[in-house]
Symmetry: C2
Subunit: 433 residues, 2 copies
């Protein structure tokens, strides 16, 4: 008999079935006992009536791996309307009981303990559902971009110079020479605009982020895209809007169990996401919160982002808000200035539920503008030679953006700490498991 998944049980009502999985829970009641078997996709309720078997299962540690054969029976009051009866149970692999119960709605342990035992904690239905959301989001992202003619690229993670900012970069020993871990695929995806015009990547990026906050990791998955022949940054924003819509659709379609999770809330992506210029956002904030810490500042504080998120929800009925035109002082050297107002840039952040989720914008595309921008910032052009070559040999106006995948899932799931949605998080304290 071929094994079926627990999620396939309803389609096999009235048939003999074989299931395999983990002993999620054994509930011994006075009249009847239930073995809850967890497999890679869901849970199955197995009715146990045989006294000898009850005795055996009562002392079997949770997480023991079992094979179950029995009859699938449609029962109104069973979870999912189906249970397995007349079961024969066979041990596949033994187990020690886990350090915390996996059958409770949430794991009753502090986050560091949960993360220390990730190999087991990730088996918890809620935690693993969030990983399905992650996988579905990544796939929705790729599908949306492929449909618009973007080509996937795989850019190097070991790079020769601590480019972009120079700060917060991990150094490594590369055959006796210094090398660094890429903070983003930025320079490479721009170079690839010269090849395919439209490219994307979903891969790891590395930040030697010394601050131990709930929203920072030293390694995370960055969803990047870059597109050529754009009018300006607003074309990137339009593409991003379509991509977000497809990501939500993919989660609905491919992570159905996750959609049922308490606290997980999928947003509605408006046809046009509301947008506010940085200078206008500052005016609003100054009027509301006072000028202190607002006027003259080149960036928005987290509290400002939260306030703007609330404002967008109230004024525009949107959980998303584009803030455009960030001051050039706070944007990287490759950012295109705003025409006529060079103190601002053709850039944007996307706030989602009051937190920055995406950063993007139009980039410089003329070689002489790069030379001038690096010079104005007192940066040595030499480490950028291979990058600048792309602009020397003809590049169209282009722009792009980057979205942090773990942060996206954390926001969807309503969890404050991004570590709760990361498989094996890395931060200033944590390097294992």
């Amino acid at each position: 008999m071929a094994r079926i998944w627990s999620t396939e049980l309803p389609a096999h009502a009235g048939e003999s079935v074989q299931l395999s999985g983990w002993l999620h829970r054994f509930r011994q009641l006075s009249l009847v006992s239930f073995l809850i078997l967890r497999d890679g996709r869901g849970l199955a309720q197995v009715v146990i009536e045989d006294a000898a078997l009850i005795e055996k299962l009562a002392v079997l540690p949770a997480e023991s791996v079992l094979r179950v054969e029995g009859e699938a029976v449609a029962v109104l009051q069973a979870p999912g309307g189906i249970e397995v009866r007349g079961a024969r149970v066979e041990g596949v692999s033994e187990a020690e009981a886990p350090p915390f119960d996996l059958h409770r709605p949430t794991i009753k342990a502090l986050l560091p303990t949960v993360l220390d035992h990730a190999a087991v904690a990730l088996r918890h239905p809620r935690r693993r559902a969030l990983q399905r959301v992650m996988a579905a989001s990544a796939e929705g992202y790729r599908a949306a971009l492929r449909a618009q003619g973007f080509v996937e690229v795989f850019t190097p993670k070991i790079v020769g110079s601590a480019t972009e900012s120079g700060a917060n970069v991990f150094a490594l020993d590369y055959f006796g020479r210094p090398a660094y871990l890429a903070q983003s695929p930025q320079l490479y995806k721009q170079m690839m605009v010269g090849v395919f015009e439209r490219v994307f990547e979903a891969g790891p990026v590395f930040r030697a982020e010394p601050s131990d906050t709930p929203r920072h990791l030293s390694e995370y998955v960055s969803l990047d895209f870059e597109m050529g022949f754009v009018r300006d940054h607003t074309e990137v924003m339009d593409t991003l809007t379509e991509v977000l819509r497809e990501m939500v659709r993919a989660v609905q379609a491919q992570a159905a169990d996750a959609v049922e999770l308490p606290r997980l809330e999928l947003p509605e992506v408006p046809a046009v996401i509301p947008s506010i210029h940085f200078s206008e956002a500052q005016r609003l904030l100054a009027a509301e919160l006072g000028e202190d810490g607002v006027v003259g500042e080149p960036d928005l504080a987290p509290a400002h982002e939260r306030w703007l998120g609330e404002w967008a929800r109230r004024e525009h009925g949107s959980e998303f808000l584009f803030v455009t035109g960030y001051p050039s002082a706070k944007r990287p050297f490759y950012t295109a200035p705003e025409p006529g107002r060079p103190e601002y840039t053709n850039s944007f952040d996307l706030l989602f539920r009051g937190l920055e989720l995406v950063t993007g914008g139009q980039r410089l595309h003329r070689h002489r503008d790069y030379v001038a921008a690096l010079e104005a910032r007192g940066m040595d052009p030499e480490p950028f030679e291979g990058y600048l070559e792309a602009f020397k040999h003809g590049m169209p106006p282009h722009g792009g953006c980057a979205l942090g995948l773990e942060r996206w899932v954390a926001r969807l799931a309503g969890v404050a700490n991004v570590r709760e949605t990361t498989l094996f998080p890395r931060d200033v304290q944590r390097l294992t498991p």
Copy 2:
């Protein structure tokens, strides 16, 4: 007028069109001149008859970025049966001429020069077509596995210990502590079998490979999958066969221009890929090539793989060959032994056109077997604690494999050096661009 792609031209015959792209070539003939415009997808032939425009284009450097408006006219002898006439040409971005011609069938420069100028060299139609093959292969791989219920995972690339072999690993400074770049997602994907049973990843792996050969890179894209509740390694081989079939299909469907490339040859994936046990392969090799360097060796030399590749083609009409049962001496500690013959393992290599393309096998799944295997090899279990926890708490029989993406594309394209199919290769010499 909205811009169209060069590949969309045939559908617009008889219409006014706008194209954008790079000056790929300007051919000044006595009667008529041709501007060949390259965009992100293909080439367009633009007829230039205006004398003043001919004079301007004749001195314009290749790779200048242009916008062209004209009439699309179906012409039997034009490439693709279509050309643009009555063109108005407008400059978008200036360019210096590239260090080598991009309009010739191949780049006339030595490989190191080509790689030094990757930003420009990748614009060559042949080189960029290989990157489309890479993208299509990765997507075919993912699609095949998603269809079989595998879940995508994103495992950490910064790891706390130089696991697996300990050799050929890059060390980095992690907030003052030593850390390493993951040589493979092996340990993590096994841990995730305990969560989803079936997982895959397409991501970078890092090998501090000191040998400068045409088939080794210090960073490459590894296509990994791992599956639980398998009978043995042959179930992994069956899944891999289906995955390879889908990868070939995806290249045919999504990289049509690449399929036309000279020297690129897509293989036929047999319904069942022929398979030979390591011990039997050695018998064949000894009979054919002599016992020297064969008998008693725990591995196959590259020359042996080539001979076996030829043998499989001759005897089985297959460009693929599984070699199974490699001696345990040459396989990592997590490899499951062959039942009844523990000097061999339940492992396999897949040879493709005489070169190892995939390595895989069944893994140990009982905690006590891991403890014994590490002890037998004199390895300290302490760095493996987070990994071993998965086995302590119940793991099913499982197995998986890993395929090197760049190597796959190199084999398809008939190029000897894997650097020719890698975007920005990294090796013992090369760290830029």
